[in-house]
Symmetry: C2
Subunit: 201 residues, 2 copies
């Protein structure tokens, strides 16, 4: 039984309840999109009170961000990007795997919902950058730093520019549903981006 | 006075009414965002009946797309991209001008609203590609084709890939509010993208 203090602050989370709420949120955003998702709907479907959700997630945006994080990262530390020594091959593999995730309609719709929300909500965008984009970006920078060390990438190039040049075209083709997202299409982007970022070595 | 047939089909648009509805729509999406915009609110503020709006725009998405088109393209044909013979300079100028448009908070919010809606709504995305993205993309391809003719761009490179590599990183830095959007930051993207797309001439 929770102590009076735990009950009043409400900070003690039951892991199973938390997991159930996040899984339900993911399903609801995948089904209805972001605009039509409400805390009420998630609460009813997860079989919990609205207040239980509000206690842990102050806004709908915070709830959806956690639901997508839980599904896409899972528990534990994120893993390093592949490093076979062939930079074009490794980055193409990462991007092809990303595109394959979009082939799951539920994941596609949930991530579209979160992406749309981020574009309009600066505060949610900030949380997204800190909790999802920046940890992923650091893995990408780490892989690119190793490429700089072996002369595959210009040592003077800004690594954030490199990440944007390699990854943004694929993201845009996905968000706007325009352009070639086949493995060949993805590889061509990586090849030309890397040519523009190549070291003179 | 309209004939009975005009009144019954309702297809005859009064240009002043149309312009007033679109200007009001732009203001409402800039103020409230896409999710909170309703046809009712636009009708009330524009001083027209809801049915007048529904007769011309079947959905909220169609209305917002037209409002943004009207504001960003204006009347007449879109103009060609600059061609001073210096491709890096010309593309940097285009992208810096784009970023400057985002500095207007009303334009920034309205375009964020439309972009968010497109991500979630495939039908609206299709209309956006046909009516806004594709005409702009054709101007970009035309400028790049001239660069191919004078050996500044690989003649074998796919022009849609070239457009995505040059333009997508700036779009993403804007949508995610991440990364350097100063003229120097934009120029660095253009320079590296063009290096990756350069001809051997």
């Amino acid at each position: 039984m929770p102590t009076a203090q735990q009950a009043s602050t409400g900070r003690r989370r039951n892991p199973a309840t938390r997991a159930a709420i996040l899984a339900t949120t993911f399903d609801v955003v995948a089904e209805l999109g972001y605009a039509r998702l409400t805390i009420e709907k998630v609460a009813a479907r997860a079989g919990v009170g609205k207040q239980t959700i509000y206690r842990w997630w102050p806004t709908k945006g915070a709830l959806v961000l956690d639901a997508v994080l839980e599904r896409s990262l899972g528990p534990g530390e994120p893993v390093d990007l592949p490093d076979t020594g062939d930079l074009e091959e490794d980055l193409t593999a990462v991007l092809v795997a990303t595109v394959e995730e979009f082939a799951d309609p539920a994941f596609d719709r949930a991530l579209r919902g979160l992406t749309a929300a981020i574009i309009e909500d600066p505060e949610l965008g900030q949380a997204y950058r800190e909790r999802l984009d920046e940890p992923m970006r650091e893995l990408k920078r780490r892989r690119l730093r190793r490429a700089q060390e072996v002369g595959q990438l210009d040592v003077d190039v800004d690594l954030d520019l490199a990440v944007d040049l390699i990854f943004a075209p694929v993201t845009r083709r996905w968000t706007e549903r325009s352009g070639d997202l086949t493995p060949e299409g993805v590889r061509a982007i990586v090849r030309h981006a890397l040519r523009g970022l190549a070291g003179s070595a």
